[in-house]
Amino acid sequence: MADTAVHDDTHAAHDDHAAHHTSTGLSNNKLAMWMFLGSECLLFGGLISTYMLYRGRHSANLGPDQVWDIPFTSASSFVLLMSSLTMVLAVSSAHRKDDRNTKVWLSVTALLGALFVAGQVYEFTTFYREGLGFTTSLFSSSFYTLTGFHGVHVTVGIIMLMSLSGMISRNKVPGDKAETVELFGLYWHFVDVVWILIFTLVYLIPA
């Protein structure tokens, strides 16, 4: 709708009588996002713990120490880490009201995310060819579930970033644009933070 911009500009005027000020002065959306992320800690915590419990329960030749390809995973971890940088640059462009750069950085972030997911697909395929199916062992079930959940989170993030970038192009972001970018950024960084844990706990520490 064309009047989004109008709406944004007249925002302050409405606030005077809308009594929408929050008690703490903090944004509802941001508070909600942080609570959601706090909640997600217990989700990924459960998955990581299950993996930890089961990582040694597999047949002799299909355990973590046999299938890991550390150089490859390191590279894809690096890609995801760099996507956090591009995300933060998108947020900082958004706060400067620089739509063009915001879109560029959001797209680059989505691209890096997609690269990471592609790497994960490749990794899963390789493991599967080596004989490590989802149902092969306790190790494989818990590994695929943990990294799969993370992969789904990344994928959802990519879809959100691309949608947001499109909505910025058409000027269709309802509410505060910079804050929306920031919220998506929080989600994205959280997914990255989870991978920081997974990379070390799952891949680098031998079972």
Binding site: L31, W34, G45, S49, L53, S74, H189, V193, F199, T200
Partner: protein, 107 residues
């Protein structure tokens, strides 16, 4: 609805953390730590007892760097930190106790 209406008009970089250059520096730092981690994983035998704590510390540094700087937790309201750290604390606490009762830390 009302949610979005309260955000503040002054979105200067100061209240929102570092400059772009600062973020790039942090990203480089994180990349270096990741490299050190990978080196760690290839030199487990030389490192001996320092291996596991070393890796965990490096992981923690990365974790909090992203949390505090990229996610602005260092510059934002303490309430946001509280929400996240309660969840994180409960997760670490409960699951550590769970793994302990399963004798995970004995091996």
């Amino acid at each position: 609805m009302s949610s979005a209406t309260d955000t503040h008009s002054e979105h200067d970089t100061e209240s929102h953390g570092l400059s772009d250059l600062g973020y790039i520096k942090i990203a480089i730092f994180l990349a270096v730590i990741t490299a050190v981690e990978v080196v760690f994983s290839y030199t487990q035998e030389q490192l001996g007892a320092a291996f596991l704590p070393g890796l965990l510390i490096l992981m923690g540094v990365k974790f909090f760097m992203v949390l505090l700087y990229f996610m602005h937790l260092k510059f934002d309201s303490k309430l946001f930190s509280l929400m996240f750290y309660i969840g994180m604390g409960l997760a670490v606490g409960c699951y550590a106790v769970f793994l302990a009762t399963m004798h995970f830390f004995h091996s």
